[in-house]
Amino acid sequence: MAITLKINGENTKIDAAPGTPLLWVLRDHLKMTGPKFGCGVGQCGACTVHFNGTPVRSCQLPHDEVGDAEITTIEGKEGKAANAIREAWIAADVPQCGYCQSGQIMAATALLEDNPKPSDDDIDTAMTGNICRCATYMSIRRAIKDAAKTLA
């Protein structure tokens, strides 16, 4: 049954089997491949999108339970915090392979939107759900702080 979801500010019609997680709707149906598949069990954060501004695991969210919430993916995420994060990411070359990074950026952006001056401990708490096998953690921590400075 087709339903309509609000994704990156646009009403988007979706015709997927009931219960299909948002991740696969985004990737396979809407060809929005920014959110990645890393585990499918809510453990890695590669699939992170914003649900009314809050980072969620799209692999764990049935698309037919989204309702009228606003979904934002890396492709559509804009705003001061997002841009500061992107610039800091580019300035420091944070990503290695990049596969986890859309999730990292969505998590880091939500952190800064919520807390413009995060401490190391705040960063650990906000970011520890996002695994990076390339281990860009040290760069991520530095870049979040750099981004925070530009927002100050």
Binding site: A16, A17, T20, W24, R27, D28, H29, K31, M32, T33, G34, P35, K36, F37, G38, C39, G40, V41, Q43, C44, A46, T73, I74, E75, I85, R86, E87, W89, I90, A91, D93, V94, P95, Q96, C97, G98, Y99, C100, Q101, S102, I105, D120, I123, D124, T125, M127, T128, G129, N130, I131, C132, R133, C134, A135, T136, Y137, M138, S139, I140, R141
Partner: protein, 771 residues
């Protein structure tokens, strides 16, 4: 709509794959319009008359193979290696663009198809820069010379009066200049110069090599752009996942797919052929579920009702296998290296020290599990996949399907991490097989469960070290026994022990200046697919030998760093071949890349200084040190740990000194040092793949655990030794010293010696501090 991923042989590939001039301004979508005016410098000439640069050291340096300059001055550089986060797009481009005198803002990357014309494309072994440094410099310099020659002809002057400079050729005496874009067509008609007529820049003229040039991929990544294996889309494409047999060489007894076919979106199932030994890069067999989307395929797989037939590995169990390996190191093995008379020295020794070490099987677990898309058109096949070697993938496909390689195109996408897993193209063959059965383009997704349960694992190993110590605690003799299933067993069913090429990774090149040294290897029959994982067999000897050095220092009552330095001894060059070993030296000559013990002690001294080795530490803190040569680079690591009374472990700081010869991009080299170290630490702390009844037990991240942000060190300092030596490996060599530096630090902090990995395991929260 354009297909999302096009090959360089497709007319408008530039529209999707090339990257815009790199600036901090952000991403601008490249226009496909200029593709019409493309000028491939020298290509016609090179192909008609032959190129004098076909056999430059490292391979073909014919400029047209690597560089195309368009009328608008865009410089397209072909990258024949796979981008997996090591920033090979950037490093290859830095080398070419520097010698070419290209303006960096004009550089775009074209990802090469797999083809023998590029020479080696196997992006593993930490050797992209090492293999290609010289020939890409020659290619860039040759094209620069042709552009200068074309300008000289235009102005009616001599070559000496023309000088390439940032996408222009200048004539300083008159102030005239012509752009590369204006000169491209004329330059393309010129003879390609011979290597002797090409002037490479001197080091002090380098603009890009050795500089912190920003990544060419990052501006795309931060927008969720770029195409990984999982992101490939083709018109009419369907999705598949495969239920693989639980054991290697297990097979499908019977299958009832009625419930699977009833899942909405599921289209059909396909039974795959059961492979025969050895594993090679054959698909594992099983049953594929083909569906409209990935989720439906996964649900369909769950609904399959398969009775599996046990294969020859059914009895394999990690617990009993560990005992077998340990037993095989308690008895003499085949001698791989023999110096002096170790056995006599050991039996006469006043003091002896013995220790046993264990490292389990490990899984690569790149964040992107393997993915491949295959599309047939009659007898021709095109694949898009996250492969480390598109060229060998093409060969494997040709062999499997019995078709001419010229009828196969393999596109390497970006790789979401690889670490050795993606140089085994079994998953691409799987996709091609299913696509042929289905008659549509098929993308095969490996879930995390597939990735962990059906990999090519890093070999489990047992090791035993015995030392004869004199009255001052100095090591007079060292016996090192090791047993691990060989990578060779993946290619040869009869291979039942570690081979010389594997022992040459950190075991037979033991740098200790001890009068008696003996390396023996014991039997280890294979039961899983064994592969190479970041730093390969260096992992186990570095852990054992560097841990044992620390233990010997403790037995001697000496400082571990000083003791380790004395073990390495004088600055000299060693050659394991002279002591019975087979030593390929990472496929480099020992003349070009000798084993220099002085470089080991240099990084050791350097890192000790960085970490302020010997400083007084708070209670519960300890420093551990390790040094290792791998992939022709020399790395020393110091780790500081903090262990609370109840065994909570954290890592406040890491210091690392690296001598990798000439470094093309220090910023990205530092990232590899951090990443390689954490990779080693994560595996050492948590990583363990085990088998029961031949099947891998671990399924997903809850039971295969990786280091997370909150566990990562707050301080990580890397120092790169300034060097004019030839470039050596960067991607892997930081991994081996990480584990022993950590366990040595834990010993320093707690007195607890860890000889068996993992330290904590998937569920462990605290160290068991009882001895």
């Amino acid at each position: 709509m354009l297909p999302r991923f096009l090959s360089p042989d497709t007319a408008d590939y530039a529209a999707t794959l090339s990257i815009p001039p790199l600036s901090r301004r952000g991403f601008v979508k490249a226009s496909g319009a200029f593709a019409l005016g493309i000028t491939l410098i020298g290509r016609m000439r090179a192909e008609a008359a032959g190129s004098p640069l076909k056999e430059v050291a490292g391979g073909d340096a014919t400029p047209s193979l690597w560089i195309a300059i368009e009328p608008d001055g865009t410089v397209k550089i072909t990258c024949h290696r796979s981008e997996m986060g090591q920033q090979v797009w950037t490093s290859m481009a830095q080398i070419v663009a520097d010698e070419l005198e290209a303006n960096w803002e004009k550089v775009e990357i074209v990802q090469a198809l797999g083809h023998p014309k590029y020479g080696d494309q196997n992006t593993d072994g930490s050797r992209s820069v090492r293999y290609n440094f010289h020939r890409l410099r020659v290619a860039g310099a040759a094209m620069r010379t042709m552009l200068e020659t074309a300008a000289a002809a235009h102005w009616g002057t001599t070559l000496a009066n023309c000088k390439a400079d940032q996408n222009y050729v200048l004539r300083p005496s008159t102030g005239d200049r012509l752009s590369f874009g204006e000169l491209a067509a004329a330059a393309g008609k010129l003879e390609i110069p011979a290597e002797a007529d090409v002037n490479l820049k001197s080091r002090d003229q380098w603009r890009y090599i050795g500089k912190e040039i920003p990544s060419l991929t990052v501006p795309l990544i931060v927008r969720g752009q770029g195409t990984f294996g999982i992101d490939v889309d083709r018109p009419g494409m369907v999705h598949a996942v495969v239920a693989h047999p639980p054991q290697v060489f297990g097979s499908v007894g019977s299958v009832d797919d009625a419930a699977a076919l009833a899942v909405p979106g599921v289209m059909q199932t396909v039974q795959l052929p059961t492979p025969e030994a050895p594993p090679l890069f054959q698909p594992l067999g099983g049953v594929a579920v083909v569906a409209m989307d990935t989720w439906a395929a996964i649900q369909g797989r769950k609904a399959l009702n398969i009775t599996w037939q046990d294969g020859p590995n059914a009895g394999h169990d990690s617990d009993s296998y560990r005992e077998l390996l340990q037993e095989n190191t308690r008895n003499p093995g085949a001698v791989e290296l023999d110096r002096g008379d170790t056995l006599t020295a050991l039996s006469n020794a006043p003091n002896k020290l013995t220790a046993e070490y264990y490292v389990p099987n490990l899984a690569h677990s790149p964040m992107e599990p393997v993915h491949a898309t295959a599309e047939w058109d009659g007898d021709t096949l095109e694949c898009w996949a996250c492969v480390q070697d598109p060229q060998s993938t093409r060969g494997v496909l040709a062999g499997f399907f019995g078709i001419d390689p010229d009828n196969i195109k393999v596109n390497a996408t970006w790789l979401g991490g690889a670490f050795g897993r993606k140089s085994k193209p079994d998953f691409v063959v799987e996709a091609a097989f299913i696509a042929r059965e289905v008659g549509k383009p098929v993308k095969v997704t490996w879930t995390r469960e597939d990735d962990l349960q059906h990999g090519y694992y890093h070999a489990v190993s047992a090791q035993r070290l015995e030392a004869a110590l004199d009255d001052d605690g100095n090591c007079r003799a060292l016996l090192h026994r090791t047993a691990f299933p060989s990578i060779g067993s993946t290619f040869n069913a009869a291979a039942d022990q570690g081979a010389g090429f594997e022992l040459a990774l950190g075991a037979s090149d033991n740098p200790f200046e001890v009068p008696n040294l003996r390396l023996e290897v014991g039997k280890a029959p294979p039961h899983l697919r064994i592969g190479w994982l970041r730093s390969v067999c260096n992992i186990q000897p570095a852990f054992a030998v560097q841990s044992f050095a620390d233990a010997m220092a403790h037995a001697a009552g000496r400082d571990p760093k000083d003791y380790l330095r004395d073990l390495i001894g004088s600055a000299r060059i060693i050659d394991p071949n002279t002591e019975g070993a087979t030593y390929p030296n990472y496929d480099a000559s020992l003349e070009d890349y000798p084993i220099e013990t002085g470089r080991l002690t240099h990084v050791l001294d350097k890192v000790a200084k960085m970490a302020k080795w010997g400083r007084s530490l708070p209670k519960g803190h300890g420093l551990g040190i390790a040094v290792h040569r791998a992939f022709l680079s020399y790395i020393a690591t110091v780790i500081e740990v903090k262990v609370t009374n109840d065994g909570q472990l954290s890592i406040p700081g890491i210091w690392l000194a690296m001598d990798a010869g000439t470094v093309v991009n220090p910023r990205h080299a530092r990232a590899q040092m951090e990443g390689g170290t954490i990779y080693g630490l994560s595996n050492a702390l948590y990583g363990e793949i085990t088998a029961k009844n031949g099947a891998v037990v671990q399924q997903n991240f809850p039971d295969w655990r990786l280091m997370r942000m909150s566990e990562a060190p707050r301080a990580f300092e890397v120092e790169i030794i300034d060097s004019t030596s030839r470039p050596a490996g960067i991607g892997e060599p930081a991994t081996p010293p990480a584990a022993p530096a950590l366990t040595n630090a834990i010993f320093a902090a707690t007195g607890k010696r860890i000889r068996s990995l993992p330290i904590l395991g998937p569920t462990g929260e605290t160290l068991n501090l009882e001895s």
